[in-house]
Amino acid sequence: MLSPAEWSAVRLTAELAGLTTVLLLLVGTPMAWWLARTSSPAKPVWAALVAMPLVLPPTVIGFYLLLLMGPQGPVGQLTQSLGLGRLPFTFAGLVVASVIYSLPFVVQPLQQAFEAVPERTMEAAATLRASPWDRFFSVAVPLARPGFVTASVLGFAHTVGEFGVVLMIGGNIPDKTRVLSVAIYDHVEATEFAQAHRLAAGMVVFALVVLVTLYVSNRPRREERPA
């Protein structure tokens, strides 16, 4: 049904979204925990920085990333001096851009889940001489499980749905940076509507299935409701 080039775009998209989600959970969990627990006056500033990709158009993010990661940009000079070369037009560059672009979709659900963990429960664990790490992994993380589910699903799905930034950073290279959304755009621009429909309809079904699954899995179960 799909051509090899289109399968390649599907595979690339899944790899990009999967890797981005894993990295975002690793980076986003400590950020969300800090944001949920801190009383620092700097909290609104950090929360705003995390939320920025929700507000900024993808062209702004793409444009600045292109400058930052370019040969004259600070990030570009750093990666070059480390012998990593430059990030634009590479898969690694797409991962970096996606992590930034999807950051709020992972951090915000986690933050809300951590904020819902009762302080008294954490204190009770502390009086039982659980170490801070033990408290976090044995108490906070299990209680915040729905937050982790939401964060993972939204982070993955939003990366799949991203377009403007990947087009600008990726350069539309087959098998390397041509993800699904870009492949669909290509078909539409070339007025290959039949091919565009196949991929685009697939995206619509994917998005619907993912979101329904998310809402079903996060529906509060009776025994979990507070008495």
Partner: protein, 247 residues
């Protein structure tokens, strides 16, 4: 004292009554020149241009889906013909307003030699082109690469931009060492030429005839017809040549 003021007001009112607006879709490579031509057009006629710049292929899709553009200033001659054949443009109004010239450009001064030999260099990691499926300058770039016998060497280095404007951006930010762009983007009158470029000889690629056409949405708009007439005027032609197009 009063009378000249009233006369001026009346003149203004009269020009406003006649002044119209034209929704123009323009190929990215001609956006700069059109802005300049638009100044002269507005001064001469009082009509105002509302300009949208982008890839010609994208405009085609938008126009057949009912986009309110009244004039298309395309990067090729195929799209206006197709639009007229499909009833989306007024048949017989298409004409060639410019012939596009391709350059191999780098943002670094002295990087590109006058024979374009740098295209085969190992120093080049990325070559930006506009999407050859939809952009005539991209298709022309592919012809040049093939004519030079560099298809195998250069194809893995190609980065495809959605339009010639994005190809320019990839090169201007230094992320691509080289890129095929329009001469009109590099040789802007009254501005020093950035970096270095090779004007690709015209025998290496098929002629890029750029046509304009009156679209169905503008069929009854006198301002839209006036714009097409103005594009054929000597004043406009002079500017078009200054921007590095053939005519």
């Amino acid at each position: 004292m009063r009378r000249p003021f009233i006369a001026a007001l009346l003149a203004l009112a009269a020009s406003l009554a006649h002044a119209g607006e034209v929704q123009v879709a323009v190929a990215a490579n001609f956006a700069g020149p059109l802005a300049r031509i638009g100044e002269g057009f507005t001064a001469a006629t009082g009509h105002v241009l509302k300009i949208s710049a982008g890839a010609t292929g994208k405009f085609y899709t938008q126009i057949i889906s009912g986009a309110p553009f009244e004039v298309l200033i395309a990067a090729d001659d195929e799209t206006p013909k197709k639009l007229a054949a499909g009833g989306h443009a007024v048949a017989g109004t298409n004409f060639t307003y410019a012939i596009g010239k391709l350059v191999l450009w780098s943002a670094q001064p002295g990087f590109v030699d006058d024979q374009g030999a740098v295209l085969a260099s190992d120093k080049v990691k990325h070559v930006a082109i506009a999407n050859p499926k939809v952009a005539p300058y991209g298709a022309a770039a592919m012809e040049v690469i093939k004519a030079r016998g560099l298809s195998d060497a250069v194809t893995p280095k190609l980065v495809t931009a959605e339009s010639i404007a994005q190809a320019y951006q990839f090169v201007a930010t230094g992320n691509a060492e080289l890129g095929f762009v329009a001469l009109s983007q590099v040789a802007v009158p009254g501005r020093p030429t950035p970096g270095s470029y090779w004007a690709v000889p015209a025998n290496l690629y098929g002629e890029i005839r750029q046509d304009a056409v009156l679209l169905k949405a503008g069929a009854d708009n006198p301002a839209a017809k006036a714009l097409l007439d103005y594009l054929k005027s000597d004043a406009a032609k002079k500017l078009i040549r200054e921007f590095g197009y053939g005519l």
